[in-house]
Amino acid sequence: MAKEKGQTKLNFLKGIANENPLFVSILGTCPALATTKSVEAAIGMGLLFTIVLVCSNILVSLLRKLIPEEIRTPAYIVIIATFVTIVKMFTNAFLPELYSTLGVFISLIVVNCIVLGRAEAYASKNKVFDSFIDALGMGVGYTLALILMAFFRELLGTGAFSFGKIFTFIPYFKLQIIPVGYEISLFQNPAGAFIVFALILAVIQFIKNRKAELKAYNERQEKIRKAQEAKLAAQNKEGGN
């Protein structure tokens, strides 16, 4: 039982770190660049995305024995599009500011490679609960990635964090961090989105390279040590004789 619990945790965490859909698999880049002007919009996008991903993964997993192998992809596309429509209508009704901020990108969740990819790669082969955890992990991982990008873009681009504009049920407040007049508005522009994304990927690649180098170095050291030990042993043997 304990082992199974550990498995579930791993299954959840892999979407956040090792298999992060945005930063490791480089999927779903369009909304990541377009909806990260402010942290609030990023949270909203991530939330809607996670809801669609979780719902479609659960339904796909439930129907995995009913859908014939050959028409899998069409069936999944219809399922995902239906959930996106439902989410879109709810957003329009209850969070109209979020709806108008994200605009077309709510509909574009349909063609987000992550949703279809998860349905085909995971939910079509696994049990409902596992698929649910997998989708939740991926959704949270994607949301965190969006928030990270929006954090830098909003901080550098406007010099402040403002909340309450999109989620109108919380009171509006603004947290000025960089003095007015010193912000770099380029980061609010499309170009800034590309730069932030590039720098984050570069940092990740740097860390990966470091790890690989360290591993190679350790292996080399280990080899040398073993060779020396073997030499020493041989010498001792000779001495003994």
Partner: protein, 198 residues
């Protein structure tokens, strides 16, 4: 004559000023994934142009003459994705059956077009903004040709990047994204292109 000029201006503006990849962020995945070789990005771009124009021509009447009168305008996303996906499959089927040479160049990219944000994005934004048919067509043509232009230009740059001596951490995608950022800045310069006309 005036409408024709307006049509051309609309095409150019959605192609250059509001470029699909660099300012509207549709179709980043193929932009980054396919564009390593000039030939393959040209093939992908042409296929996207074809599908986007066809999808625009089908989706606009479908929305305005069928979904709206029936009172189920909220089903637009489902209808569009069905139109696009069947279009891609039909075109693929046709090519596979009758033109092996075309299949050789485009075959691997066709399934990717269904999940290209640009196609659904154009169809959706056309009706969300309430454009009329001619404007939608101009938007479709402009967007798709803009995509073709940018993906080919970008692949030409990336061929050079491959042999450039970039820092190790920036090899591959990061430097490509930095290049895209510089291109986006360059395209920002086109924003005032039509301001004198109005």
């Amino acid at each position: 004559m005036n409408t024709f000029i307006a049509f051309l201006l609309a095409i150019i503006s959605s192609m250059l000023i509001d470029n699909v990849v660099l300012s509207r962020f549709y179709g980043i995945c193929p932009f980054l994934g396919v564009s390593k070789k000039v030939n393959s990005s040209l093939g992908m771009g042409v296929a996207v142009v074809f599908v986007i124009i066809l999808a625009t021509v089908i989706c606009w009447p479908l929305y305005n003459y069928v979904l709206v009168p029936a009172g189920i305008a909220f089903m637009d996303t489902v209808a569009y994705i069905l139109v696009i996906a069947s279009l891609v499959q039909l075109v693929g089927l046709f090519i596979k059956k009758y033109s092996p040479s075309l299949y050789k160049t485009l075959g691997i990219y066709l399934p990717l077009i269904t999940t290209n944000c640009a196609v659904l994005g154009v169809a959706q934004s056309n009706t969300d903004q309430g454009l009329n048919f001619v404007e939608s067509l101009a938007n479709g043509i402009g967007t798709s040709v803009g995509f073709l232009l940018i993906i080919v230009v970008f692949s030409c740059i990336r061929v050079r990047l491959e042999s450039a001596n970039t820092p190790k951490a920036f090899k591959g995608l990061p430097i490509a994204l930095i290049t895209a950022a510089i291109m986006a800045i360059a395209f920002m310069g086109l924003q005032g292109l039509f301001s004198g006309l109005n």
